[in-house]
Symmetry: C2
Subunit: 121 residues, 2 copies
DNA sequence: TCACTGATTAGAGATATGTCAAATCAGCAT
DNA sequence: ATGCTGATTTGACATATCTCTAATCAGTGA
């Protein structure tokens, strides 16, 4: 490991973000920068089968159906999830390539993060 | 926790985020979900020496000094950066541990990962 | 066709956010 | 002290966001 001065952590912190890259990333981040939408995304992504029914999601919150619908639309518009109707119900699933963009921007690609550890299982 | 069905990508998508975790993460994400603040964070992190003078930052934008100051405050309040005055100038630097939390949430621990697991310590 | 359930859209109201001009604070140097 | 430059705070304004109710759309089944 030659003595390259490693700044710190994320790609974002290794080279100045271009104006357009910043604008693009911000769209994704805005979509995700809300507790309800974070939980929705998380629930959809971790749901068995890789998709979740809106009916399941709505029940998990103290919010009205239209509000959940609104948040799902924000996530969908940002390209983070996609959904389709099957009969009476609508199912949503994550679009991994887009979610990964977030990870790529902030991924600590260097020495193990101070409070995280990669362990064999 | 052995051989759990790996859904797709980020930790966020592997298990439903708790309400408090979501709220906490959202604070960080809100701070970062703005093109100007993304670029500020990026410029600070990638600046030689690991820190950047406000004077340098201000010049890079078509915004007034108070506006830049406001954005820096948002980042600082979220705990992503810290700054101190040295004489006439104020210098900001990234707090890697906090920035890494973003990476940890969305890190695509995919391909080389079938038998690796991200565990908090 | 009509009623019923699940989901989205439309519209409204309260709150939050991004920006600026003006005022203020902090150091430095006449 | 006085003034000068760099940075922050304050106050205001326009816009965006989050939530709700009411209305509408989509499918199913009597």
């Amino acid at each position: 490991m030659a003595a390259v001065t490693i700044q710190c952590c994320a790609p974002i912190a290794r080279e100045p973000l271009s104006e357009t890259d910043a604008a693009e990333l911000a769209v994704l981040l805005k979509a995700v920068a809300d507790p309800v939408r974070l939980r929705l995304l998380s629930m959809i992504g971790s749901h068995a089968g890789g998709e979740a029914c809106v009916c399941d999601l709505t029940d998990a919150f103290d919010l009205t159906a239209p509000t959940i619908s609104h948040h799902l639309k924000v996530l969908r518009t940002a390209g983070l999830i996609d959904g389709d109707r099957r009969g009476t119900w609508v199912y949503y699933r994550i679009i991994p390539e887009v979610v990964n963009k977030l990870g790529a921007a902030f991924a600590p690609l260097t020495e193990p993060a101070p409070n995280l550890e990669l362990t064999p299982v």
